[in-house]
């Protein structure tokens, strides 16, 4: 019977861990961008989300080739581009080479009478043609003549020039050696558009690997050349790799350091091995729970797993410290169990509100922490005692106990110092003039500062500022969307005339609606009519008589040419452009019209304020900033709820306002000073700092609850030995050291999100223990 009693928890635990391993092995690590997209978005946020997930913006890869003379950079750029153009993974490969644009030029010219918005019956009447010819003459006389003179016999009305006007306001990188090159000639530039959407990280990863592979092959003979990649997809891939490798490496490093600490204190391999079991079980369970609950596990959540080491190992430390010869292992925790249980409940109270977060990253963190800690503490309570033989007792660190008690007895002397520090911190926070919160969604992105700078410098070199304003046109099918886009384009032309924007792009420029194309086609006069009109128009102008034969042939051909379809655009850059601007979403179609050089967004917003939502002006920056603000707001609210529920829990458990105050005071002091330190360090707070503060309260509450317990038992004269009390204090110190190490290490991870949590908890947890000793130690070590 005893045997069974001993074994069933182990069996249950093994089955559970097996299940978790199975779930974890099948988990999907999610796109990190998705971690930042809201669960229940507004229509504008949904558009933003779509753009970030699979819009054209999300499919760009920016490339810089560096480390050589301009000639070798250009050669590498050409070879790489040539190889990539054969890959179906890339819809567009552009390095500024001219040959690649022949198809686009031919497309624009051959279809100019279907594409040009200037085509009307009047334009090809005698009067209209006369005006056009006068303009042509002026152009010929002007310095533009050299280029225009080749086109005028076929296009006297200037439809090609009119089409090109539409591109005004776009900038492009400088060319050197026939390819795009930065001003200083140190970086050849390319732009790719992937076939796969930005959110498909596996596909993005394949694309990135393909680029690197081709680059290596293309430049096999050229030493020193390096390739730098950037863009949303590349970011997601690197963020995932980065956070996975950081999670892995730092878990190992932290585990080793914490292990050394445990070895130093307990001098037993067995203790060490068993101590890590709750941690591992908790981490596996946490990930498995998130995987089950959300389908995907975000990289950030995974990275967070490390932090659990620091916290969950505490339970094993409490357990081993209270093992003693002659006492059954399962009795070791009996005395302190109520305190541990309260500590765990405190943590659960603190983190549970996070489940409700609309910000999926935050919700996953909440679920992960709560499940992980519960499992860790259950394993410590019911599995560990059954894993060791009765009477097993590690070398009790009693030698430290006396000294610790002596130190704690001295600690209260520091009270004035704590008071001064808290006052100073409060003043410093109150006087903090810079913005407290980082205000950009991108600050949540798990990317290093260098990567963000690389992206910026590539964008600067390419003259490709971020698209900020986008008009999104919706409709039931492609034609409806194109027709509506044409109406919007006409309004935008009028606004551009008032200098409210410099230009825009629209799919209807390359693929006008069938209706419009048909109208343009019927606007063209027949052969006889055109001949008569032309003859009349030429009167008084110095053009040679037979000059415009090619024009008449082209018009005749245009009158009978089939209307353009998306298929006709295939193989051109314009076709890709159209595809990226015009797409099927859900139950309808959408067209994106990116705007350039917007000076008065408000005017545009008023112009397109459609009550039915079929035309929306999307301000990507404002939307993402607002989204971020809503996350910050949410995190603040949920943390407040969490903190409040901790207070309520303590009142219910301790049933004494004095005790609750005593337990909370050191934690509050630690939080205030930690916050002051972070701000004084010049940091702008991420909402993960807030999570870190909450976590340090959760961890710190264990310490102050133990101090509370010891001072209560002292008061009640429970007659505990000094040794016992000393051991508890030793275990607190070891637990605190391991927590500080684990989180402190994260502070060096270089991933902003993890650094934020790491720094905050390391400082917060350390101060919590220190202040518990200073403020509550007097009653313990009497």
């Amino acid at each position: 019977m005893k045997r069974f009693k001993q074994r069933w928890p182990i069996a249950a635990w093994l089955v559970f861990v097996g299940l978790c391993v199975f779930l974890v092995s099948r988990m999907q690590v999610g796109a990190d961008l998705n971690a930042f997209l809201p669960g229940t978005p507004t229509p504008a946020q949904r558009l933003l989300t779509e753009q970030l997930r699979d819009g054209m913006v999300s499919r760009l890869i920016l490339i810089g080739i560096e480390g050589g003379k301009p000639e070798s950079l250009a050669a590498a750029s050409k070879q790489l581009a040539q190889r990539l153009r054969r890959e179906p993974d890339f819809l567009m490969v552009n390095n500024g080479e001219e040959g690649t644009l022949a198809k686009d030029q031919a497309f624009l010219f051959d279809n100019r009478y279907l594409l040009s918005s200037a085509v009307t019956p009047e334009r090809f009447g005698a009067e209209g043609l006369h005006g056009a010819l006068e303009n042509a003459l002026q152009l010929l006389g002007s310095p533009a003549g050299v280029m225009v003179k080749r086109v005028i016999p076929r296009d006297p009305s200037g439809e090609l020039l009119h089409l090109l006007e539409g591109f005004a306001g776009q900038s492009s990188p400088p060319t050197q050696e026939g390819v795009w090159m930065s001003r200083d000639g140190k970086r050849a530039l390319l732009i790719l558009q992937t076939a796969a959407a930005g959110y498909d990280i596996d596909a993005q990863q394949r694309a990135v690997e393909r680029v690197r592979g081709h680059f290596a092959q293309a430049t096999g003979g050229l030493r020193g050349l390096e390739i730098r990649l950037s863009g949303p997809g590349v970011f997601s891939v690197e963020a995932r790799d980065n956070i996975e490798s950081v999670a892995f490496n730092f878990s190992i490093i932290t585990a080793i350091i914490v292990s050394l600490l445990l070895l130093l204190v307990y001098r037993s391999w067995q203790v060490l091995a068993i101590s890590l079991l709750p941690v591992i079980s908790g981490a596996l369970a946490g990930i498995a729970a998130v995987s089950l609950g959300y389908g995907v596990v975000f990289g950030v959540t995974l990275g967070f797993g490390i932090t659990l080491i620091g916290e969950a190992v505490d339970y094993a430390i409490y357990f081993f410290t209270h093992l003693a010869p002659g006492r059954a292992p399962d009795k070791a925790l009996e005395n302190i169990w109520p305190t541990i249980r309260l500590g765990v409940l405190t943590t659960i109270c603190g983190f549970s509100p996070m489940f409700l977060a609309d910000f999926p990253g935050l919700a996953q963190l909440g679920l992960f922490s709560v499940v992980g800690l519960i499992v860790a503490v259950l394993v410590t309570r019911w599995v560990l005692p059954n894993l060791i033989t009765a009477n097993f007792a590690p070398v009790a660190p009693t030698r430290f106990a006396g000294r610790i008690i002596a130190l704690i007895a001295q600690a209260p002397r520091l009270r004035p110092l704590v008071l001064v520090a808290v006052a100073a911190a409060v003043i410093s926070i109150a006087l903090h003039r810079e913005p407290v919160w980082s205000d950009q969604l991108s600050s949540l992105f798990p990317l290093s500062v260098e990567k963000q700078q690389l992206d910026q410098s590539l964008r600067d070199d390419l003259g490709a500022p971020d698209v900020r304003y986008l008009i999104v046109v919706g409709g039931k099918d492609r034609e409806a969307v194109l027709e509506r886009s044409e109406a919007v384009a006409a309004q935008l032309d009028a606004l551009a005339g008032r200098n409210i924007l410099t230009g825009y792009d629209t799919p209807s420029r390359y693929l006008p609606s069938q209706k419009t194309q048909h109208a343009r086609q019927t606007a063209l006069p027949d052969e006889t009519q055109l001949r008569a009109n032309l003859k009349q128009a030429l009167a008084g102008l110095p053009f040679r008589d037979d000059l415009f034969e090619p024009f008449q042939q082209d018009i005749a051909a245009a009158r009978s040419q089939p209307l353009l379809t998306q298929a006709r655009l295939q193989g051109t850059n314009l076709g890709l452009q159209t595809e990226s601007l015009l797409a099927h979403y859900g139950d309808g179609w959408k067209a994106m019209l990116p705007l350039r050089g917007v000076t008065e967004a408000q005017v545009i917003r008023q112009t397109f304020d459609q009550p039915d939502g079929s035309v929306i002006l999307l301000d990507l920056k404002q939307e993402s900033d607002e989204l971020y603000q809503s996350y910050v707001h949410e995190a603040v609210t949920l943390s407040a709820v969490g903190a409040l529920s901790i207070v309520v829990l303590l009142f219910i458990s301790l049933r004494s306002a004095r005790r609750v105050a005593a337990v909370l005071l050191p934690l509050a002091a630690a939080v205030v000073i930690t916050l002051a330190i972070l701000l004084a360090g010049g940091q702008k707070l991420l909402l993960f700092h807030l999570v870190g503060l909450l976590l340090s309260v959760a961890v710190g509450s264990n310490y102050s609850l133990f101090f509370d317990r010891e001072s209560q038992s002292q008061k009640n004269g429970a007659g505990k030995q000094d040794d016992e009390r000393g051991l508890t204090m030793v275990s607190l110190l070891v637990a605190n050291l391991s927590t500080t190490i684990a989180f402190g290490m994260l502070g060096f991870s270089g991933v902003p999100v993890l650094t934020a949590i790491g720094q905050t908890v390391a400082i917060g947890a350390f101060l919590s223990l220190l202040f518990s000793a200073v403020l509550m130690g007097g009653k313990v070590a009497k």
């Binding site: 552009n94 030029q105 002007s142 591109f167 492009s172 990188p173 050197q176 001003r183 698209v467 990226s580």
Partner: protein
């Protein structure tokens, strides 16, 4: 996000602007206050002389002979040069139009439409090369000229002709030859011969408007 189009745009406008530049390149160096150069006459000395000119203004008459027209087109207006890099060409007849080149910046404004375009030369190497044909001549910058052209000089100090042959094959497709004629530190004529046989001659009279 519209890079494909950017390039088309760049390519086509660069041709267009390239030709714009043909006009602005038809610029004179007009010597107002210069010192007498030595008697022996070489390209280097011509350049040194031209480099002395800090500011000049003139009027011009330009005739364009185009095969597609029955008669040549005539234009007139004013020119202004300020060392080292500013050129202004203001066409007054038959229709007003102005072009201002200042260091890396080119600004074009056609009077009627009131439309103004500004672009950076560094982004358009072909135009840049073309601009330097005249600007480097005016500035007396032989190194830059040699970078883009085969440069030869005929005649005497009192009456000379500088011939520039483009080195770049793309430029050769457009322009076969640029001839700049002058006397002393003054540019009198600029003749541009295009690849197809069309040509333009600009005559420059010193003295400003």
């Amino acid at each position: 996000m519209t890079f494909g189009n950017d390039t088309i745009m760049r390519r086509l406008t660069s041709c267009w602007l390239f030709s714009l530049m043909l006009g602005i390149a038809s610029m004179p160096a007009l010597a107002d206050e210069v010192e007498q150069a030595a008697s022996a006459w070489t390209v280097t000395e011509l350049m040194q002389g031209l480099a002395q000119v800090k500011k000049s203004s003139a009027t011009f008459i330009e005739l364009k002979h185009l095969s597609m027209l029955k008669e040549p087109l005539a234009f007139s207006g004013t020119l202004e040069y300020t060392a080292p890099g500013r050129l202004e060409k203001r066409t007054l007849l038959p229709k007003p139009e102005s072009m201002v080149l200042d260091r890396d910046r080119l600004e074009v404004q056609s009077g009627g439409a009131g439309k103004k375009r500004v672009l950076s030369l560094q982004a358009y190497p072909a135009i840049w090369a073309f601009v330097e044909s005249i600007r480097s001549t005016l500035a007396g910058d032989l190194d830059t000229l040699n970078r883009f052209y085969r440069v030869s000089l005929e005649g005497q100090r009192g009456k000379w002709q500088l011939t520039l042959l483009p080195l770049d094959s793309k430029m050769k497709d457009m322009v076969s030859e640029i001839r700049i004629g002058g006397s002393g530190e003054q540019v009198n004529t600029i003749e541009i011969r295009e690849a197809g046989g069309d040509y333009s001659v600009m005559s420059i009279s010193k003295g400003g408007s």
